[in-house]
């Protein structure tokens, strides 16, 4: 269902920027289905965990105020070539996805 893409690039501070693009509707729970008039239930990513070589280094908390197909970017200091960055997200329905990439 879900696709999660990750991109890692060097930043000016000498570390790496990690960008994650997750495919997700990020429904607020406030929108109505135009045909039936029923509210579309809230459905959004809640947490996104970033790990460097398996050690969690950051956790992003998301709400329904984050755009559809969210892009979340963080910086990681001290990663070197060959290290693995992984991301793992879970939404309010308990569904999730993960992605992994090696630092070049």
């Amino acid at each position: 269902m879900a696709t999660t893409k990750m991109k890692i690039k060097k930043n000016k501070a000498g570390g790496h920027d990690v960008m994650v693009l997750a495919k997700h509707p990020m429904e607020t729970g406030l929108r109505k289905n135009k045909k039936t008039g029923e509210k579309i239930p809230a459905h959004f990513i809640q947490t996104m965990e970033f790990a460097l070589n398996g050690t969690v280094v950051a956790q992003a908390n998301l709400g329904a105020g984050v755009s559809k197909n969210p892009l979340i970017g963080i910086a990681i200091a001290g990663a070197s070539s060959g290290d693995t960055v992984s991301v793992n997200w879970i939404d309010n329905k308990g569904e999730g996805d993960s992605a992994e990439k090696a630092v070049k």
């Binding site: 406030l30 105020g65 984050v66 755009s67 970017g73 963080i74 793992n88």
Partner: protein, 155 residues
């Protein structure tokens, strides 16, 4: 199957993180694994900040910067980027004052994570966007108003 393996892996990794964290930072500031529900439920900025950061003094800071458009292309998709030179930053929160849920997103991090957080957020209307970085027991604040307009045609 694949997911199960991953979960198992991350569980193990979690323990490592706790151990490493305890060694690195004496008061063991371990990443909260839970989603800060109270902050997201808060109706006002002040309540959200208290729920997420606890009580901390807010200071305007030049060690925190925000890159964002002065006028958004589209309120449903506003890119923002918070950067900080504070080396002891623990958490970043993004608050859109006039959104129905002002507390939009946040990041908790260890020292291994650098001081940057970027996201694309929804904005209901023109509003100040306030970003807070917690470091050394204080909340370092940077703010910018982002205009959200009704477009003519665009492209």
């Amino acid at each position: 199957m694949k997911r199960r393996i991953f979960l198992k892996g991350s569980l193990a990794a979690g323990t490592v993180a706790v151990a490493a964290g305890a060694g690195l930072l004496a008061p063991a500031r371990v990443l909260a694994a839970t989603w800060p529900e109270a902050a997201f439920a808060a109706k006002t900025e002040a309540d959200a900040l208290r729920a997420f950061f606890g009580d901390a003094a807010v200071v305007d800071s030049d060690k925190v910067s925000l890159k964002a458009p002065l006028q958004a292309e589209n309120g449903a998709y506003v890119p923002i980027k918070v950067m900080t030179s504070l080396t002891d930053a623990e958490a970043i929160a993004v608050v859109v004052e006039k959104n129905p849920v002002p507390y939009v997103t946040s990041l908790q991090m260890t020292v291994v994570a650098g001081g940057m957080y970027s996201a694309r957020i929804k904005m209901a209307q023109t509003s100040p966007v306030n970003c807070y970085v917690k470091a050394g027991g204080k909340l370092h604040k940077v703010s910018q108003e982002i205009k959200v307009t009704i477009g003519g045609c665009g492209g």
